[in-house]
Amino acid sequence: MKDKDKTKEQLMNELVELRQSITGLKELEAKQKQVDEEIRLLLTLTRAIGESEDLKVALEIALKKVCEATGWDYGEAWIPNVDGTVLELSPVWYSSSGSLDNFRRVSEKFTFQNGIGLPGRIWLSKLPEWIPDVSLSPNTIYPRVQMAREAGLKASLGVPIIAKEQILAVLLFFMLESREKDKQLVDIVSAVASQLGSVIQHKQADEDIRKEKNFSDTAINSLPGIFYLFDNQDRFLRWNENFEKFSGYSAEEISKMNPLDFFVGEDRKFIEQKIQEVFAKGRSTAEADFVSKDGHRTPYLFTGTRVTFDQTQCLLGMGISIAERKQAEEELRKAEAKYRSIFENAIEGIYQTTLDGRIISANPAFARTLGYTSPHELIAEVANVRKLYVDPSRRDELISLIHTQGFVENFEVQFYCKDGKIVWFLLNTRILRDSSGIVCFEGTATDITDRKRAGEEILKLNRELEQHIIQLGEANKELEAFSYSVSHDLRAPLRAIDGFSNIFLKKHEDKLDEEGKRVLNIIRINTQKMGELIDNLLTLSRLGRKEMVLSDINMCELAKDVYEELRATVPGRILQFNIKSLPVAIGDIKLIRQVFVNLLANAIKFTRSREIAVIEVRGRSEKNEIIYYVKDNGAGFDMQYSDQLFGVFQRLHSEKEFEGTGVGLAIIQRIIHRHGGRVWAEGKVDEGATFYFTLPIKEKV
């Protein structure tokens, strides 16, 4: 049958079929178009999610894109809470219209347990679920049904986001119209969710690694010492910042170094053995000096543990500086040695006793002073310190003092020595409490036996001295009384003898022959001589007692003055007096005047036989004294008797040659000695004499 043969009905049928196939084609075409769009959506989403920072941002993108691309009006995400008991609404959501805000707000108050409500069912089943019209659902299936009705929400689709079998989130989408399940739409959204799960899973894994890395870096960098990890080829794999800081090497340098490069000398070999030990036995520790880049050595304690890292055996460990500990140990050792040295070598005794008197410790000095060969012997033989006390009640006094004031200072006691001798000690004692609260007495004992004896000796000497002073005072008084009576009483009889001899001579001159007169004259001469002797002796004795009044003395004037006085007593003589300016002296002017009187009188007397008497007075300052002399050209003397010159009653000339009492020079010597000076004389028989005396310079005598 040709086309024209076909019946109208046939044609109509064909037309219908054609139309149908055109419609089918059109549908097919539309479908194809939808698939293309969906693939495009998927690609866009995958890229966007891949670039997103975290799950929240990824969810936000997914909800928005899915709604826009596939015609959903509202999208939300439910996320398991921290302990995984319920689903909570994520803060991210999407809505095409503001009319859904209220639904959103109220939904935030909801949570869904596993298997309850649409999100709960998807959490349990891990499968997508489509509800054509939630407003028709009973409350048991859809708890938010009343709210959904009010919001006008109808069709709903829920899909799970799964990563590593775990539900990360449940996505819910709603439309404002009801719709039968569209399998293709379910597939697309499921594909998006699946994609999302996979991306998030990777992201989370990266994050975990990053966190772990961060944690381990923080951990090893916060270690107080150095941290190191090196493999069995001695290559450093990891180390901390302290390692770089303390060693002074950069990371790049360390990466090329050998662990042994940080040690020198003996330590190098030692550490090498220790490393071997770690690889052989699993772990070890070592103390050695860690040498930094600038050569500085610091004592360290190192640990090493064998670990497997990337299928390689490695050594992981730490090093901590023990410099402070070492220094503290050294200081403690020194302090102990110092204390020990003081204790052992002290001259003073040092001891510790218990409260009831047992000797805990004693130093060698304490034992030695008490006559024991060693502290050991002392402690062994003296069961109780009380036994040492000569007067045990002193121990009670000591203890009572310590208890009241906590210490005792300069407490004098007598102790028995091993051989029974008694020694004096000066005790300084205090209570000692250690951390466990035990109390003992600790103190020092100074041997003051010699001091005590010296003190007693001084007291004795003082008493003797006082006695001597009293005796001396008495003797002085006696002497004064004696000289007083000499002065007064001895002269009266002499005066009587002289006086009555004279009267006798005058009254009875006519009855006396020449011999009688001569004898009476001898009596008179000797009486007068006796008077002179008494006067001179009294002068001498007074010199020793008279208090000196010191002043500056113009010696030249004084000497001249005395000379003039004496000159007048010898009017017929020819005298030549040579004097030049003399140094000023400090002394008692009356006494020094007496010196000049005696010296010049002697000079005049002993030059009597000279036609012209030459008398010279000179003086010169030396370092500590002034030397004066009086020189004459008189009779002189024999130097071999010069030491007798200054003695009392010592005379080198006969009474016939030169009259005199032999007291004059003794008086000079006494005066000069009282001034702290010296006297001496030089001379030669018939060639004159020189008499020297000195007076100290400056210092008032």
Binding site: H488, R491, G499, F500, I503, Q528
Partner: protein
Amino acid sequence: MTNLNEVEILLVEDNPYDVELTLTALKENNLTNKVHVLNDGAEALEFIFATGAHAQRNIRNIPKVVLLDLKLPKVNGLEVLRRIKSDERTKKIPVVVLTSSQEERDIVKSYNLGANSYIIKPVDFNKFIDAVAKLSLYWVLLNKPPQ
């Protein structure tokens, strides 16, 4: 015996030989007629203050000079001196200490108590005569006492 109200020189001296020597010296200078000698300090005080044995004497009649030894029985010379010089009625009497003592402290004490002179008796008789003569002439003849 001299009229005790007309005594010009009062010699207070216990040593009889010194008394004789002194009188000899005075005689050589014709001064003996108005000399009165007392041998101890107590009597000297009685004489001067007109008490005791000398109560009948007029205290207003004072000697021209008292020659006073220091070493005296009963009351010593320094005490006699002190009493004379501390009494308004007698303090104007010139007192010459005539003694053997050369002690500085005796000299100082004497002058402090108001002695008018201090003479050490020389051992040499000629010097002694000379000294007594000079002092007597001075105090008896030359010195002008207040009326």
